[in-house]
């Protein structure tokens, strides 16, 4: 999915991220535009993985680092998304255990700790289904590399190429990690579905 910044440039809209960053070297406040464009998606991704408070820290630190290093930004890359997401991904990884505990809690109790800050969301989600619990349990068991890859694609909506840039690995590695992670998650979901089906009366049984 192309970023807003790149798509806008192609259509004659707002200037690309690279141009904004270049301007910010002389006018620092211009960098606020980069925050405006990218912080919401970054925060949502981090919040889904770590919860609100840690996501706030990750986003704050991401843009603090990006601002300090903006003079080294490659002007040949109009879209700053891979650059920013790379910084954020490294910061998210520092909270690996916190994230694992969230998934385990969800798997164990059916309550999603990440959503505790959302009173309205908690009411809408009447339950976490057994599938959510199995999904969370599967995520908890993934290696850091596999989990990062899967969630950058599923929750970050990054392309394989962007994910490869963010993680600093070849695209082939992204494909193999994604394949492995999806296989494991799929198996966990299938096991839950089979277990549910085994305990659900069939039509034949109902009509007996």
């Amino acid at each position: 999915m192309p970023s807003t910044a790149f798509r806008a440039a192609a259509s004659g809209g707002p200037e690309p991220d690279a141009a904004v960053i270049r301007r910010s070297l002389d006018e620092p406040t211009r960098f606020g535009e980069i925050f405006r464009r990218h912080a919401p998606a970054l925060h949502r991704y981090a919040a889904r993985r770590l919860g609100g408070p840690d996501a706030d820290d990750v986003v704050a630190e991401t843009f603090h680092i990006a601002f300090r290093k903006r003079h080294r930004y490659d002007p040949g890359r109009p879209d700053a998304r891979p650059w920013l997401w790379r910084i954020a991904a490294n910061l998210v990884r520092r909270h690996h255990r916190t994230e694992t505990r969230h998934y385990r809690a969800l798997a164990r109790t059916g309550v999603d700790p990440v959503l505790e800050g959302f009173a309205d969301r908690a009411a809408e989600r009447v339950d976490a289904t057994s599938l959510s619990g199995s999904l969370a349990a599967a995520l908890a068991r993934l290696s850091k590399g596999d989990r990062d890859t899967l969630l950058l694609v599923a929750w970050g909506e990054l392309t394989y190429e962007e994910t490869a840039l963010v993680l600093g690995v070849p695209v082939g590695t992204v494909r193999s990690r994604l394949h492995r992670a999806r296989k494991r998650v799929r198996a966990a979901l299938a096991a839950t579905t089979d277990a549910t089906a085994a305990t659900t009366p069939t039509k034949e049984e109902d009509h007996r």
Binding site: R36, Y45, F118, L135, K144
Partner: protein
């Protein structure tokens, strides 16, 4: 629905916040100070703000993030204290408040009963191990006993056992993915020793002569017992209160760097730490505790009520490191009832970049837990090699 669809459904539970709201929540603004990490219960910070709050946030965002850079305004949105400096003034008042009763307890300890100072402690250091993209932390642990015979001027030690353990039980899945190893060979590239160590021995080593490092100098056993209890006099002896000329100061700074210290307060804290487990007379121990409380950079270990093993403890802390090396809090913890040293613990505040994939804030990456530090008449049956005078 496939597995990606299920994952996207999970993501849909978390709405996207607007940039104005995020500017308020994160406290970020271009060119601003590094935002302080906010630690707070999830329940106190909803992910979504009310409508009125969003309008206010938009106004704040417009000024802070997009406004003129030349206006200096108080930081009205950042929260939390600034990151502590590693060599700041500390808080002598808070440290003394903690150490005064500990010193009093130490001064009231029974007089030495026995010629041998015996210590028993467990020492652990954390290392990141496992595959490069899935590392986890393990402790290299060993148990040590040490005997110092004051009359003979000899000391010996023994390592009864060595072991390993996970730094955090939440890393067990990563350990299992790694094949559940119980031994990690030495890794010269990472400068990591084998885990667990092979130093487990066959009994105490031969006893040899020992000096007692005391600050910048060292003392003979008798000199240690004759130290004055007055903290000011102890400071002079510890830091060799001679005036330094420019050349001597230059040598001292070079020596600091060579020994791996980044400042004199850091070096002195490390040296004084080593002093605490010496066979000090009770009133001298109390005096050393007061010296510790008054040292630059030393502050109360706030919120600490027990040591790593769960024993009740109070103590002091000193900030180490920087953004490059990682930031740590070194704690010295005491038994409030007896004034003895319980433990020394190095806690991660912010891991270094190279260790951030397995180490998290709050991890204890190095520790020494004291099980015993007492006088006794028991001396191991070992060969003795006293210092012979020529």
């Amino acid at each position: 629905m496939n597995e990606l669809d299920h994952l996207r459904r999970m993501r849909a539970d978390v709405p996207e916040s607007g940039p104005e709201e995020l500017a308020v929540r994160t406290g970020w603004r271009p060119g601003g100070e590094r935002p302080a990490s906010r630690t707070r219960p999830v329940s106190l910070l909803p992910l979504a703000l009310s409508g009125a709050a969003v309008l206010t946030a938009a106004a704040v965002f417009a000024f802070l993030v997009l406004g003129p850079a030349d206006l200096m305004e108080p930081d009205t949105v950042a929260a939390g204290p600034p990151p502590g400096s590693s060599n700041g003034p500390g808080d002598a008042d808070s440290a003394m408040e903690v150490m005064a009763p500990v010193a009093e307890a130490a001064a009231g300890a029974p007089r030495p009963d026995g010629a041998v100072w015996y210590q028993h402690y467990t020492w652990g250091r954390a290392w990141g191990v496992g595959p490069e993209d899935d590392r986890y932390g393990v402790y290299r642990v060993y148990e040590e006993e040490r005997w110092m015979h004051l009359e003979k001027g000899l000391s010996t030690n023994d390592i009864p056992s060595t072991d390993w353990s996970l730094v955090d039980e939440d890393d067990r899945p990563a350990w299992e993915r790694d094949g559940s190893p119980t031994f990690w060979p030495r890794d010269p590239g990472a400068e990591r020793p084998e885990i667990p160590t092979a130093e487990e021995g066959d009994g105490p080593a031969d006893a040899g002569p020992t000096g007692y490092g005391f600050g910048y100098g060292s003392l003979a056993p008798q000199e240690l017992q004759e130290l004055p209890p007055d903290p000011e006099r102890l400071e002079e002896i510890l830091w060799d209160g001679r005036p330094q000329d420019a050349l001597e100061r230059e040598f001292r700074e070079e020596a600091l760097a060579e020994e791996g210290y980044h400042s004199e307060p850091e070096q002195r804290f490390a040296l004084l730490k080593g002093t605490l487990t010496l066979p000090l007379p009770p009133e001298v121990r109390a005096g050393v505790y007061e010296v510790l409380a008054g040292m630059p950079g030393v502050r109360a270990a706030e919120g600490v009520t027990e040591d790593l093993s769960g024993r009740p403890a109070v103590g002091v802390a000193f900030d180490l490191g920087d953004a490059e090396r990682g930031r740590y809090e070194e704690r010295i913890l005491f038994d409030p009832g007896t004034g003895t040293v319980r433990s020394v613990e190095r806690v991660v505040v912010e891991p270094s970049a190279s260790e951030a994939d397995w180490s998290e804030p709050g991890d204890v990456v190095e520790y020494r837990l004291y099980e015993a530090a007492e006088w006794t008449d028991e001396w191991p049956d070992v060969a003795e090699h006293p210092l012979t005078e020529e």
